[in-house]
Symmetry: none
Subunit: 211 residues, 2 copies
Amino acid sequence: MKDLTVRQQEVLGYLQLHMREHGTWPSFREIEQHFGFRSTNAVMGHIRALERKGYISRIPGQARTYRINLDLNDDSPPREALDVLEIPIYGHIAAGYPDGVETSGEIGRLQIDVESAGIRRTRRSFGLKVRGESMVDAGIFDGDTVIVEQSPPRDGDIVAALIDGETTLKRFVNKPGEPPYLKAENRRYPTLHPVAELVVQGVAKAVVRHL
Amino acid sequence: MKDLTVRQQEVLGYLQLHMREHGTWPSFREIEQHFGFRSTNAVMGHIRALERKGYISRIPGQARTYRINLDLNDDSPPREALDVLEIPIYGHIAAGYPDGVETSGEIGRLQIDVESAGIRRTRRSFGLKVRGESMVDAGIFDGDTVIVEQSPPRDGDIVAALIDGETTLKRFVNKPGEPPYLKAENRRYPTLHPVAELVVQGVAKAVVRHL
DNA sequence: CTTGACGGTGAACGCGCGAGCACCTAAACA
DNA sequence: TGTTTAGGTGCTCGCGCGTTCACCGTCAAG
């Protein structure tokens, strides 16, 4: 946060303010008007600067598409206090809802400190209520809550993946030289699970079980 | 949520999904492509329906500006704020611990909401870093953190108990007519563990595992 | 004195993207 | 039977909005 000029901080602040208040990113013209600029190019300069310095990223040419890189703009001191995160929990996956997690199906919330869960604040995370026995050999049982972080999977990770329109938990196997595939961790299940198109929603980082 | 058709729920779900994953609302063309429509007007119909039914609102003519009316789409009971508790974690337990709070052996802290952990605020709780394999058959592995609440054990509970000056995790068995005893949940361990004097420190309520 | 970063004006360009119109199909009424 | 509602296709129109180019200041560093 230190390498930003005052003006740039103001612009970054306005981006976040607008998002908080309207649920939408502002357009160049809206930023221009807010700061009293007389040219959208003044905005362009600041946006470019923020982009260059890594505080935001965007999809060039597309309207109102920003993304704040949180890890940079919170210059939180080395934490002594526990950094707690509130996470939505999704349960049953709507039948036929192929996009995966049905957002309206939020069945609860969970709060845990990031260290215990092994997740990062900068990534989006969500909880998933486990159904079925496909991962019992990995110590994940029916009824457990797994905390999934949206990040690219690596070989050996347990991932939440989309199979036939349902979200399931599987081991992600990606050996060099062969296409990646998914594997259930249950001796009674077919071990291999070849998938035409692999849609990985996130990587399981932690399990919380209610005894 | 009941007055929405399946398709409308899917569209609403995609709006939220896209927002979660990209931090941006999708454009009509992106929605069209995602659902395989061949006309943006199909999108228009659904957006209009969602708007008419009050689930979203938008600023007409402006790109990627939606607003979700949350109060409508979650028909879950009004969620109370999560009650979060900070808990000390002990590694190896010092002999003589049961007298009270011996903080010297504290190796960390954990924060979690009481509901996820299944504990009560009124009781004292602590975390325990599991060492050894004595409970693998109960799905508790070496390295897991169990959350223990200080309360009287009942038959079948997993308890933290003092054996030979060390705290271990065991199943508490208390059948009528015979003295209570402890039992390890590992096929390779002796199943019975008769103890002269039973010192139970608390009942395990939850497990947190870092994958 | 020059160079570069920073902050800005003004105008023009061109695609992204919401909006509208015409028309189609299937299911649910009544 | 006609009418309505949900869910589409295909096309066009026109504004919103990001982008670029030319050019202007100020200030600190080399």
